[in-house]
Point group: C2
Chain length 216, copies 2
Amino acid sequence: MSRPSTVERILDSAEILFAEHGFAETSLRAITSDAKVNLAAVNYHFGSKKELIQAVFGRFLDPFMAGLDQSLEDLLNNNKKMGVEEVLELLVNHILTSKPRQPNDIAIFMKLMGLAYTQNQGHLKRFLTESYGATLDRYFEMLYGSCPGLPVSDMFWRSYFILGSAIFSMSGSEALLAIAKRDHGIDDDIEAIMRRMIPFMAAGLRAHATYDEDPS
Amino acid sequence: MSRPSTVERILDSAEILFAEHGFAETSLRAITSDAKVNLAAVNYHFGSKKELIQAVFGRFLDPFMAGLDQSLEDLLNNNKKMGVEEVLELLVNHILTSKPRQPNDIAIFMKLMGLAYTQNQGHLKRFLTESYGATLDRYFEMLYGSCPGLPVSDMFWRSYFILGSAIFSMSGSEALLAIAKRDHGIDDDIEAIMRRMIPFMAAGLRAHATYDEDPS
DNA sequence: AGGTGTTTCAAACCTACGTTTGAAAATCAT
DNA sequence: ATGATTTTCAAACGTAGGTTTGAAACACCT
């Protein structure tokens, strides 16, 4: 087994360190030192720190989103009506079956997704919406279709409510799993959290409309 | 009306700039320049940037949490059984009636709360749990009490699901409200978002347990 | 008014960071 | 093998940031 290329070594280290400490708080020196490559290698191979951040996301999301897009395509062709739980489960299963390079890859990447939403990195949000926005829109369209009779206004906000639940609990999963174990003897893993999210989200989406609007 | 004290001017500027750009991305120079005070004033009055961050939170949360604690105290004395919606509404109303110094104070502070959870500022999390953890625990205890029959494991995770929903949608409310208006003609404000959260969360909390555990 | 403690101020200090440079080393093609 | 290209490396550059300093300005008390 040969030593991974410099590019891969950098991406591997950056992925972990970014997830652990955030983007601004992780220096290129920390990354290159962890990756055991020269400091200048990042600028040589990626151009800048910003482009490195995007590359970290691209390496994971490119295959993931392509696969998700394919699944959505197939389902739309079959046009079988799907329930809320099924649509949610589709995504969960897709995440769980996406081949992780390392055992706790999922946790790391959930943390990164959380950071992408919460850290003020304009370039990253732009990169993500430009690259994967279309696929995400298709997914939420399908989710919307599984909630007949719900006003768009509520559907709009509830999309973000479930997004917030997912990102918050997933990206903090490491700490939360430890608390759950220590304080309540709950022996879950990250898959269990996702499974627990489904009934919660499905019920929330199915709740009566907030205001007695006429869903015209 | 006299010019506000240096300390207040710093807190006012820091509050807004932190909410807008995050902690690490906001320099003391930006804050002091916005507040029209000398650079050294922060270190003189607060000691360090970290302590300034904590002071920003303390100024808002001290009275807020004291009030919440009082409400919880009163309710526990009356020991009337409360439903999920009522417990959620208690918090929402408490937020809405907490006197804002400025019109969009709530939005700013929701953003700060989001940052507190997502930015990797260990000292801040420590400060918040030490200062207000007890009150928050009491609130979640009350919420737990309003969901009879739900296993602790689900209640534990669902607490974080609703926390995530709230923090995510509230802290991004500015941008999301604009999108809602532009793309769907939804004319909400931050209060409307909170009201919309209640049925969603209540239904999610009331959903059947994830696994068919025996709630012993 | 004079003395004391507090607050402001400009300047400097020092560290950490992203990026650049130019030469050395390694890789590859012919 | 040799020349060209790509990759690595140590060192330096420039900047921006948090913090410190010491003197000046101010406020308060008697």
